[in-house]
């Protein structure tokens, strides 16, 4: 009996000690930013820009770790199952895998029960573009051509992802047939578009902007409620008379559920500081990604709204779900 009490006491005290030291000293070792995508992609570039500026505000190194493969799911599983101590942080919270894919198929974690939202860093809107040599100068030209043809082809990064859904939604709003051609990711889709193998296509500003600047692509519309600050010259679909608004792909930060409140608050503050940093803003401008910071509470509400919006689109577009 005595022994048992002793064990219980010992356990309790260790837990207490562990808990207090964890909070008091956080962070006392490097923080891992888990990017569930390949190196060189837009999320990876963003995470690396973040990690580069973070040392100004965080006393420990912030390290980017790419957990690739499996369409971004295994990296999320890793974070969801990691120790909730604030040292394993998911970067890319709010991407297609979080807002869109759950409507397609079951995932090995619960989106709302296994993760704790920290903040939003950026929103990657969706730009519709045509090759520069294309006869379509405006969105109206494209729609007109679509009505006279059986179908228009559009290259998109992956099936059922935000770009795909946005273009299907556009087809529905404009009353034209759109055949989307998915590929192996953003770069693949843009290459096909620049090569003129499809009628139109598009992606996030960071992907299309260099080609627009180079005069290879022409941006026709952005699928946000308001114009995207990284491509201010491109009108929104709404301005042009089509009700096509999607959340795009959102880049936020999350930690496993059960992470101490103080740690989450600490990370949130640091993210805010990095987001406001002049060097970070300069890098973001160069890579064509807007800084659109939101704190944990605000972003959680926004996240749920975007999630429900995509769910509704899935139903209304009649996209096959498995």
């Amino acid at each position: 009996m005595l022994r048992r009490i002793w064990t219980v006491l010992a356990t309790v005290s260790t837990v207490l000690v562990a808990a207090t030291t964890a909070v008091a000293a956080y962070p006392d070792k490097p923080i891992q930013l888990i990017v569930p995508y390949g190196a060189g992609g837009s999320t990876d570039v963003l995470a690396r820009a973040f990690a580069q500026v973070a040392p100004k505000y965080v006393p420990q190194p912030v390290v980017v770790v790419n957990k690739t493969g499996g369409g971004g799911i295994p990296g999320r599983v890793d974070v969801a199952r990691s120790k909730p101590d604030g040292y394993t942080v998911l970067f890319g919270w709010g991407s297609g895998e979080d807002l869109v894919v759950p409507h397609q198929r079951p995932l090995p974690y619960d989106l709302f029960k296994d993760f704790e939202t920290v903040c939003r860093v950026s929103v990657h809107s969706i730009v519709l573009a045509v090759p520069a040599a294309s006869p379509y100068k405006t969105l109206a030209d494209l729609v007109k051509a679509g009505k006279s043809k059986d179908y228009l082809t559009a290259s998109v990064s992956t099936k059922g992802a935000s770009v795909d859904i946005t273009f299907l939604l556009f087809g529905k709003a404009a009353g034209i047939n759109v055949t989307t051609v998915p590929g192996s990711g953003g770069a693949d889709a843009i290459t096909k578009l620049v090569g003129g193998h499809v009628d139109f296509g598009g992606g996030h500003p960071s992907e299309v902007l260099p080609h627009i600047k180079a005069g290879r692509l022409r941006g026709l519309a952005v699928a946000l409620e308001e114009r995207d600050p990284s491509v201010p010259d491109i009108p929104t679909f709404r301005e042009l008379g089509f009700d096509v608004v999607t959340a795009g792909s959102v880049k936020g930060i999350a930690v496993p559920k059960g992470t101490p409140k103080e740690v989450v608050a600490y990370l949130e503050t640091k993210c805010k500081e990095v987001a406001a940093d002049a060097e970070f803003q300069k890098i973001m401008k160069d890579i064509g990604q807007p800084v659109m910071y939101q704190g944990a509470d605000e972003y959680s509400v926004w996240f749920k709204k975007a999630y429900d919006q995509y769910g509704g689109l899935y139903k209304s577009l009649g996209i096959e779900t498995k």
């Binding site: 190196a39 820009a49 499996g70 198929r105 059986d150 179908y151 620049v194 260099p210 890098i283």
Partner: protein, 501 residues
């Protein structure tokens, strides 16, 4: 035609002590990474990204990273030749004749020719890049889904016929490779296929895992059968370095490989792999001794190894002139450029002439460094084969286990490798060649994706593969190739009974 002043400025930049030092470090690291199984160039570049951020100049950072990338191409052939373990997909073909040469005591010649060929072809690629980068990049854009599909069909046919004695057995292995390549996420819809409810199978199998299992572990199992604890060598090492006769035989193979590699390497995707296959096919076709292929023909090493190096150089063309990274390593370099505030693309040559020409010039220097580094190593590597197999086998086993684990930090991959090892052993006992399997595994996903994309574009009309000029021509070559081989096989069959009678 090209900017002489720019190149001159680039050389001045590349010859600064700091840049020379980092170029050397990149080349040494690249060679090491290429030789060691597992950790590939892309992962190494990723690890070095944080350091590169601290470097003052983006030129220095990119010089280091590109050094790792093309340095790894030099190193990649080493394990193919010595141990029959391809370090990367572009070196699978090298296993065929390279390993046979090693068995005959000519590992030094094979390694030497691979190094010299890499240098020759790397330089051909660079000259091509210096002179005609922008127009070529434009031409590469003409390759759409239909063209890719036709090219991979041709590549796969070549793999089946060339990397195997029996076309039927080669085809069987190729189809098995295609099946293995289709495990995991569907390349278009992202749906999970053939996972049999195993979570680890939901992500696609890894090339390194397969290659090490089939070739590395398979070879060890085979070696267990021989009771003698002999080395890999069955004869003594005669010449550590390639003889003049070797060089004379492989000289044109290097040039041809270099040219093929340069052009095919511009295509994003499997450029390096396809170019090594095409080069092997061409060498076998033009050779005066086609019967030596598969038995240790030196051209079979020189051609493909040259091709994959030229492809490594030319894969920088779409990256730097169009902003389109064609493989994992150039994707990392793409990211590094972005973080340094430089957008790779059509404006790079104009707006950041120092970066473009500095990197190009450093690659000329790096190629010389790699040759100087690698030729003395040839002797060292060749001596490695003197180590009795009783010591080598456990060492290879440990290296492959660590290598496979390090790719994804996954224990599951180790199991996959071991299963593949047993499969590789059985296949070899039944005289099935494993090259077609591995090549089909690499090309399969590209093939499937482009097939389905093309059919989406044409709404199911197969005419798209034959009506477009480039695609139609490639398909034509493929059809002629099959018909020719069928005809040759029939002729042989008819002659055989006649001779017997």
């Amino acid at each position: 035609m090209f900017d002489v002043a720019g190149l001159w400025q680039g050389f001045q930049l590349a010859f600064s002590p700091v840049n020379l030092l980092w170029c050397l470090i990149g080349c040494v690291l690249g060679t090491a990474v290429g030789v060691l199984p597992g950790l590939g160039p892309a992962a190494t570049i990723a690890l070095l990204l944080p350091i590169s951020m601290k470097m003052g100049s983006p030129v220095t950072a990119i010089i280091l990273m590109s050094g790792i990338f093309y340095g790894a191409m030099y190193g990649g052939s080493t394990t193919s030749i010595l141990l029959k373990i391809p370090g990367e997909a572009a070196s699978v073909v090298t296993c065929i004749d390279g390993y046979q040469m090693a068995k005959k005591g000519r590992a030094g010649a094979a390694l030497g020719v691979a190094a010299i060929g890499s240098f020759v072809a790397g330089t051909i690629g660079l000259v091509g890049m210096t002179v005609m980068a922008p127009p070529l990049a434009e031409a590469a854009l003409k390759f759409g889904p239909a063209e890719y599909f036709s090219l991979t069909v041709l590549g796969l046919l070549l793999a089946t016929y060339l990397a195997s004695d029996s076309p039927l057995k080669g085809l069987t292995m190729a189809i098995f490779g295609l099946l293995l390549g289709s495990i995991g996420l569907d390349p278009l819809s992202g749906a999970v296929r053939f996972d049999f409810g195993v979570a680890d199978l939901q992500s696609n199998l890894d090339f390194v895992t397969l290659a090490m299992g089939l070739f590395g572990v398979g070879e060890i199992l085979i070696s267990l059968e021989s009771s003698k604890a002999a080395g890999i060598l069955t004869t003594t090492i005669k010449n550590v370095f390639p003889t003049l006769a070797d060089l004379a035989r492989s000289g044109w193979a290097m040039v041809r490989g270099g040219v093929i590699g340069f052009f095919v390497g511009i295509l994003p995707g499997g450029g390096a792999v396809l170019s090594s296959l095409l080069s092997y096919a061409v060498e076998k076709k033009v050779s005066k001794h086609p019967e030596e292929f598969g038995q240790g023909a030196i051209e079979g090493v020189a051609g493909p190894e040259s091709a994959n190096n030229a492809a490594a150089s030319s894969s920088f063309i779409p990256l730097l002139t169009l902003g389109i990274p064609g493989n994992a390593s150039t994707a990392m370099i793409f990211a590094a450029l972005l973080i340094h505030g430089i957008t790779p693309g059509p404006f790079l040559i104009k707006e950041h002439a120092d970066v473009f020409w500095g990197v190009v010039a450093s690659m000329y220097i790096g190629n010389v460094m790699l040759l100087v580094l690698n030729l003395p190593l040839v002797g060292v590597w060749a001596q490695l084969l003197r180590v009795p197999y009783a010591f080598m086998a456990p060492l290879i086993m440990v290296l492959t286990l660590v290598g496979v684990y390090s790719v994804n930090n996954s224990v599951f991959d180790i199991w996959v490798m071991l299963v593949m090892g047993i499969f590789g052993y059985l296949a070899r006992k039944l005289k099935f060649d494993l090259g077609p399997l591995l090549l089909a595994f690499v090309l399969g996903p590209i093939m499937e994706r482009s097939l389905r994309q093309a059919l989406l574009l044409s709404h199911g009309d197969f005419g798209i593969f034959f009506m477009r000029p480039i695609s139609g021509a490639l398909m034509g070559v493929a059809v002629v190739f099959v018909l020719y081989n069928l005809w040759a096989a029939r002729k042989q069959k008819r002659q055989a009974p006649a001779r017997a009678a």
